[in-house]
């Protein structure tokens, strides 16, 4: 990873046409101003973290795992029959 120190008001340039400028740095927070071509997607990292967690969470749900998870969490109370039969829409 390239590490560059910048002060408020200074910038770095990335490739052709992307500028990241430090507008303010105070109290453990940094405010960035980003100039980039319209086609460049800029996201906060939290979106990617959420997407990765969602993908991992969706993989976790299989009938077998669900059963073992529920049994473990509920001390054996979540029997397999309840998984297949008792579910219903929540109002």
């Amino acid at each position: 990873m390239l590490v560059i120190r910048r002060r408020a008001g200074e910038a770095v340039l990335i490739g052709d046409g992307i500028e990241v400028r430090v507008l303010e740095a105070a109290g453990g927070r940094v405010t960035l101003g980003i100039t980039a071509p319209r086609e460049v997607l800029i996201l906060r990292e939290e979106i990617r973290l959420a997407a990765e967690e969602n993908a991992a969470a969706a993989r976790a749900v299989t009938p077998e795992r669900l059963r073992s998870i529920l049994e473990r969490w509920r001390g054996g109370a979540g029997s397999s029959s309840s998984v297949s039969k008792i579910f219903r829409p929540l109002r």
Partner: protein, 154 residues
């Protein structure tokens, strides 16, 4: 009454008004816009967010306050507008917004709950959004204690 075939829970009967619309889908699942919340009495407080369009897609969820009793929601005004919410941003029954943390289970690890980006549902409008919070102290991988470390909610 329509019946939804699901891979994990078998067929589920539901009514059209049970469907919750996610106008933007969920991150990594942007095409999935319609979900049902399903619960089983034996699994409370766990609820499942089941896709109406993909029978194999479901998420294990927990109300955020079953994980952290004094959880504070810090959803953006845009996200609250998305679900048609005009009141205060507050997680809990008194506010009327339903806030759920998606649970992830990884092989050999304690389950975690995504408290950074809760699923926020307005029961009045039946619209939902996954609120990506940027001003929040909560982790996207909040470990869930087995056996009630979090105030005995398990």
């Amino acid at each position: 009454m329509p019946v939804l075939k699901t891979k994990n829970f078998g067929p589920i009967e539901y009514e059209a008004e049970d469907v919750i619309e996610f106008p933007r889908g969920l991150p990594a699942f942007e095409e999935e816009r319609r979900f049902l919340l399903v619960e089983g009495p034996a699994e409370r407080p766990v609820v499942f967010l089941q896709s109406v369009e993909r029978e194999e897609l479901a998420f294990i969820c927990l109300p955020v306050r079953a994980v952290v009793p004094d959880y504070r929601l810090a959803a953006s005004p845009e996200d609250l507008e998305e679900v048609g919410w005009k009141g205060e941003a507050e997680a809990g029954s008194e506010s009327g917004l339903l806030c759920l943390a998606i649970v992830t289970v990884r092989e050999g690890e304690a389950p975690t709950a995504n408290l950074m980006a809760p699923v926020v549902i307005n029961p009045e409008t039946r619209r939902g959004v996954q609120a990506i919070q940027t001003e929040t102290p909560y982790s996207h991988r909040h470990p869930l204690g087995v056996g009630g470390e979090e105030g005995g909610c398990w």
